[in-house]
């Protein structure tokens, strides 16, 4: 990297701050708060953050040996269990960090977008815990396909605002949250849910999530006696991906980490598994991509505050993306991840809807763990993984929220591996 991304927010050509002027002062204020509190631990911010991760979040999450999968694939498979983090997904790491930061900055209200509802739920939990009012924007389609998370947000007393524009998924939810922020910028913080958006969000969200790879590295040393050969994580916007990778890249070093926990480890392969959806490619005439694989098939552009890889038409209109997993269903990706792919440090691969569904059932029946459909993409990649291992798969979240979708989609496909639900029939 030619410039210090901590200050410039640039990852090669990617990143930057492409937001309306009305938001620029807030973005600059946030960049300043990020440097002081997160990078320099001013007023003990990071100590307090780590304490909340332990006491409220339940960190560290375990690294579990998956004996049955190991046997099935002939390679030692370990699972980083972010599904066991409070709330059931890695999203809490970032939500706790940002809501706490909003308090340190004296903000009175937070807003957030959510796709699958995991980030919205994590933000709602963190806001209840830290006593901060919050409003969540969620696309109408996602509201309908992720009902349990809508219930959870409401139960934590968050306002949930459905967004009807476009296809009613994450992209539209982000647009609407940016508009709310632009209107209420003086007292409001926008808790961006992934490593996307204008600087400092990509770097800051990565740092809050880097606790995943920091633990994973320590646990590998203790339990495996070595670093893993590869780390596999699913990539939508890329927050669990960067969280699982960053300690091996050395791109983050959160205050208070064990010595050497963030030393670059170039021998560890980093595999970002994108949602291949129904098929790869972009149908420009229809303005639609039947996948969410922006690293694999996207092109460079500017969306939601950053220059990155996008699913777009030839002339630059952003297309509707698709994945069976709402949390991966996004036409962009974090700028640092796009840069790491260009540099060859991260390898992008993709897994389609069908394979993800099969992996969902496989992990559920082989290991007694119901993974989120997002995480199921990472697990599915084991089918194609050719290394010798040991390999770590980041189970970014649990799949309780996806049961309705999985039952329905499995039945539609007549999946052999799916259990029969005839128990409901007369």
């Amino acid at each position: 990297m030619s410039e210090d991304p901590v200050r410039s927010g640039k990852f090669g050509d990617y990143g930057g701050q492409y937001v309306p002027e009305v938001l620029m002062p807030a973005v600059e204020e946030l960049a300043d708060a990020y440097e002081r509190y997160v990078l320099e631990n001013e007023d003990g911010f990071v100590d307090e953050f780590r304490r909340h991760l332990r006491e409220f979040g339940g960190r560290p999450t375990p690294l579990s040996h998956a004996a049955n999968l190991s046997e099935r694939y002939g390679t030692e498979v370990y699972l980083k269990r972010e599904d066991l983090l409070h709330g059931g997904a890695h999203k809490l790491n970032n939500a706790l960090g940002q809501v706490l930061l909003a308090k340190y900055m004296g903000k009175e209200r937070v807003v957030a977008e959510t796709g699958a509802g995991q980030h919205g739920t994590a933000t709602a939990m963190a806001c209840a815990y830290l006593d901060m009012p919050c409003e969540i924007y969620m696309g109408r389609t996602d509201v309908n396909r992720q009902r349990p998370n809508v219930f959870r947000m409401r139960i934590h007393d968050a306002e949930v605002n459905p967004v009807d524009a476009g296809s009613g998924t994450l992209k539209e939810a982000i647009n609407e949250t940016m508009r709310d922020w632009a209107t209420n910028v003086e007292d409001t913080h926008y808790v961006v849910g992934s490593v996307v958006g204008p600087h400092p969000f990509p770097a800051m969200v990565r740092d809050f999530q880097s606790v995943i790879s920091e633990e994973l590295r320590e646990q590998s040393r203790e339990q495996l006696g070595q670093l893993p050969e590869a780390v596999i994580a699913c990539a939508g916007g890329g927050s669990n991906t960067m969280g699982a990778f960053s300690a091996f890249i050395g791109s983050a070093e959160l205050f208070g980490a064990p010595t050497g926990a963030h030393e670059p480890a170039p021998d560890v392969d980093l595999l970002a598994v994108e949602a291949g959806g129904a098929e790869l490619g972009v149908d420009a005439d229809e303005g639609y991509a039947p996948n969410s694989a922006s690293l694999t098939t996207g092109s460079e552009g500017v969306l939601h505050g950053a220059r990155t890889k996008l699913l777009q038409t030839d002339e630059g209109q952003i297309v509707e993306s698709h994945s069976v997993s709402a949390g991966l269903d996004y036409a962009g990706v974090g700028p640092e991840l796009a840069h790491l792919v260009d540099e060859g440090r991260v390898t992008p691969v993709s897994v389609g809807d069908d394979a993800a569904l099969e992996a969902f059932h496989c992990l559920s029946r082989e290991e007694g763990i119901i993974p989120a459909l997002e995480s199921s993409h990472a697990i599915a990649y084991l089918e194609e993984y050719e290394g010798e291992g040991p390999v770590v798969v980041n189970v970014s979240g649990r799949g309780d929220k996806d049961l309705d979708t999985v039952i329905e989609e499995s039945a539609e496909r007549d999946l052999d591996v799916a259990p029969s639900m005839e128990v409901f029939e007369q």
């Binding site: 930057g16 701050q17 492409y18 937001v19 309306p20 002027e21 009305v22 938001l23 620029m24 002062p25 807030a26 600059e28 524009a165 476009g166 992209k171 647009n175 940016m178 508009r179 632009a182 209107t183 209420n184 910028v185 003086e186 303005g287 092109s299 460079e300 552009g301 500017v302 969306l303 939601h304 505050g305 996008l310 777009q312 030839d314 002339e315 630059g316 209109q317 952003i318 297309v319």
Partner: protein, 310 residues
């Protein structure tokens, strides 16, 4: 905010742009519509009506799928335009085809500008603003407003605009810091777009105090100042111009009329007539504000009835 007069000399003489000229009388009306809403042919008719009504600068929105700076009115207009097939090339055709004698400003988002050169049939090896700026200048575009391109990311775009003699207009928000304002004034040409309030675009019932605050901060700046966001009636225009602006920017109020026309399936000519009359009301308001200049901004005109909107 003092500025070095010497540095501005070049801007005031013969090299002054079409846009700056349009503000010379201090009561300019900048009228925005979304190109292609609901068709390119209708936009041409609307644009000509707006100019007949007294519009001094025509701002044509090139629709982008993710218009984060817009409120619901213009979001829907841009969607109608996209649904009707508006593209960057069709936009440039429309600009070439316009029969008006006022400068045209292109308002769009940066991704469309960035992608143009590397899209099909063109051969830029990497994304960049140069190809679109050149094509737009050839088609007759005099300036750009790009809401998601803040001054700190604008270097390459500004250079392309300089090269092709096109103005790059920056938006000054109520939240803009003094330091940012300084940087913007260094790079802005044509006019500064004073965002009258925080939030997104949309017609409002009053003119915000933030607009007056921004005008006060810009009082010394040697570049025309136009206030937008929320202006929908002649009285707003009068108040803003009397408060020190050199012009007003109106968008959503026109787009509301166009949306009504679409909804009620009205003939284009009927909608165009309403746009012309609204433009005339706004222009008259701006002229009254300019002639009241020096007699104070928000005068006791509040007793007089609101100008009627159709």
């Amino acid at each position: 905010m003092t500025r070095d007069d010497g540095a501005d000399a070049g801007r005031d003489d013969a090299s002054r742009s079409d846009l700056a000229d349009a503000f010379a009388d201090g009561d300019a009306l900048v009228s925005y519509v979304a190109a292609g809403d609901p068709s390119a042919a209708a936009t041409k008719e609307y644009a000509e009506a707006l100019v007949a009504g007294g519009t001094d600068v025509l701002e044509l929105g090139l629709p982008f799928s993710e218009p984060v700076a817009e409120g619901p009115t213009i979001q829907r207009a841009l969607q109608r335009a996209l649904d009707a097939g508006m593209t960057p090339d069709a936009y440039l055709d429309l600009v070439r085809d316009l029969d008006v004698d006022v400068p045209v400003v292109c308002m769009t988002y940066y991704n469309l500008i960035l992608r143009y050169g590397s899209s099909e049939g063109r051969d830029a090896s990497e994304p960049g603003p140069e190809a679109f700026v050149e094509a737009a200048a050839d088609a007759g575009v005099s300036g750009f407003v790009v809401p998601d391109l803040p001054v700190n990311e604008s270097e390459r775009m500004a250079a392309a605009c300089r090269e092709h003699g096109v103005d790059l207009v920056f938006i000054v928000a109520p939240t803009t810091t003094d330091e940012r304002l300084e940087r913007m004034l260094d790079r802005t040409t044509g006019f500064v777009y004073v965002q009258g309030r925080v939030g997104t675009t949309g017609a409002r019932d009053d003119v915000s105090a933030a607009a007056h605050g921004s005008l006060d901060r810009l009082a010394e700046a040697n570049v025309p100042k136009a206030v937008g966001f929320g202006i929908s009636a002649g009285e707003h225009a009068r108040e803003v111009v009397a408060g020190g602006a050199d012009g007003v920017i109106v968008g959503s109020a026109y787009v509301d009329e166009i949306a009504d026309g679409v909804e009620n399936d009205e003939p284009t000519a009927d909608v165009a007539a309403r746009l012309e009359s609204l433009a005339r009301e706004l222009k008259t308001g701006a002229e009254r504000g300019a002639s009241a200049d020096g007699e104070g901004g928000t005068t006791a005109d509040h007793d007089s009835p609101e100008p009627q909107r159709k």
